[in-house]
Symmetry: C2
Subunit: 358 residues, 2 copies
């Protein structure tokens, strides 16, 4: 498959899922390392090259339920392509920042990606739309099984999987749900509700990992603990907590509908009107407006957009925006092209709505 | 003519004028008083009734270029009707606030109105769209001539017309131009340019007279001096200064087009999008957005609205909004109905644009 085609393709996780309006996507990642091999950050250039070669060779032959993976060495990718992969959540910013031979393998539908020589030798990741933590785990596990068939993975009976950072030792698993909480933000409950999660062994981050702000009213909720709990325990716990957060968000939306119906209608229609008409949109502005719009759709106040919320979010980020246009754009041009991209989606949609009603 | 029909009618001054995009309307008023009669504020109830009767009787028989006037005693008008007349600039808030027998006569097209027993016994006013100060003066003067044919007006050779307030003695004339200066506001030049007018014997006020804020980037520029200058001098002076203000505004718009084209396009399209979609609009919000929209139209960036800027401004003010709907509305309901009114205008327009393009 052509690299451009593969990178431009809509990731499965960005599609609308019927499984939840609030949980936009689910992710599971497994950290694995080769036995008797130093962790990536202390590998010599030659060693890191060997490790990459060895793992990439194995990955290329694996099929997960018929899905093949394409491997890219990081230096073969342009800076913009690297950014596209980060924005699509297929690689971490850490993979770009680290040194040595490293790369990533992805399936055509972007459901599975495997980073090589990031913090660990191997990081398997599975990403799906909606509330599908268990299905993510099942896919990541299939990938893991295939890798372990051909590679000796560092594992100790007492501790479990060994990892470069002690916070991952044990299952090596991090599971996370991306939740969309506009009503909890608007009703100022979000701090209190998400703040209590730390005590439950969970972490809350913005859309792009640690330290990233919660633009677009999006939050990632993930497990902190990897040792002393089985994968099953972790998933059950995260699912239960995510379910409660969804309940809180839905209650907050109902309360808004009851107590401030017109104010909410006004806000979501203004957001739609601004998205349809703005000539300049910053990333932050776009995420905020798309978030309000999406809430309006979920609440039955606005007609659904033809492109999904996560697709528009990601397509309007700097890397994807430039990759879609196949040219470099300065920040001012990006604001202009971002506004055009969203406007065009809504115009095409309005035109086709019109045709249908004729 | 039915009262409701007369009050609801679109005032001539609210129509789009081809004469200027920046000067929205022109107004001339003449203060006159009956000879040997105390000024209104010191009249006894009986005297004020007599004065009103006497003047109203004369007005009813006058035709100015074929236009007849309909007379309303103020107590016969509901509070909402009084507010409608204020918002359409046909009476002053002062007429409503003052005591005694008083009223107003208006022509069907609202070009001429005559207040009886406001601050003076007679206040003739002529209002026209665009830059038409001299035509306003001509009409007001025709009305004045007709009144003076049948009434003895207080006039002294040395001072000119006598008035209740010394600031009006002389010509008794106040001429004013309503100017729309969004670009001077946006480029922060407006204070400096309008501030200097006081030194030139001119006054600057907001849309609804002294002390009213300049919502909608609208300013009224008028002469302060009535004594020692002929009507001709006053008009020439005001026309010259207004011409300069228009130049400044047009230069500021050109500078915006050159230096910040996209920012301006973005602002005016967002304004249009918000007007098309908002479910709640305060008066202030509506005036601000309509002002930006109008600037966008004038600059060739937006398609012209089917209803004129002044018409939408006035129709969306509390009195007119309630009168149009024929019911009382609390402030929250007004915000809702104001948004609906503007949205409906734009939707009807978009539908008819569509039909035309089919």
């Amino acid at each position: 498959m052509q690299r451009k085609e593969l990178l431009l393709g809509q990731s499965e996780w960005m599609k609308e899922s019927s499984k939840s309006d609030v949980v936009l996507s689910s992710r599971v990642r497994l950290a694995r390392n080769l036995e008797n091999t130093p962790f990536p950050h202390i590998l010599s250039p030659e060693q890191s090259h060997e490790v990459e070669e060895k793992i990439a060779k194995v990955i290329k032959d694996i099929k997960v339920e018929g899905k093949q993976l394409t491997y890219f060495s990081l230096p073969d990718l342009s800076l913009i392509e690297q950014q596209v992969l980060i924005e699509k959540h297929l690689i971490s910013p850490g993979l770009v920042q680290s040194k040595g031979s490293r790369g990533v393998a992805v399936t055509e539908d972007h459901c599975i990606s495997v980073m090589v020589n990031e913090e660990d030798h191997i990081r398997i990741q599975s990403l799906l739309p909606g509330n599908q933590l268990r299905e993510c785990y099942r896919l990541a596990n299939l990938m893991d099984d295939s890798l372990e068939e051909q590679l000796d993975i560092a594992y100790q009976e007492a501790q479990g999987y060994l990892t470069a950072c002690p916070t991952n030792v044990g299952t090596g698993m991090r599971a996370s749900a991306m939740v969309h909480l506009p009503a909890l933000v608007m009703t100022k409950q979000v701090q209190q509700i998400l703040g209590s999660l730390t005590n439950l062994g969970l972490a809350v981050r913005g859309l792009y990992g640690e330290g990233s702000q919660a633009y677009g009213h999006l939050f990632q909720v993930s497990n902190q603990i990897t040792l002393g709990q089985s994968e099953e325990d972790i998933l059950t716990h995260l699912e239960a907590v995510t379910g409660q957060i969804v309940e809180h968000e839905l209650h907050a939306r109902e309360a808004l509908q009851r107590g401030a119906k017109l104010v909410v209608e006004d806000q979501v229609w203004r957001a739609r009107g601004t998205l349809e008409n703005a000539r300049l949109l910053t990333s932050e502005d776009a995420m905020h407006l798309l978030s309000l719009d999406r809430m309006g759709v979920d609440m039955g106040l606005l007609p659904r957009m033809e492109k999904s919320f996560p697709t528009l979010l990601v397509d309007s980020l700097p890397g994807n925006l430039q990759y879609l246009q196949d040219r470099e754009l300065d920040p001012g041009q990006r604001d202009e092209e971002r506004a055009r991209l969203i406007r065009d989606v809504l115009r095409d949609q309005n035109l086709s709505d019109k045709k249908e009603s004729e």
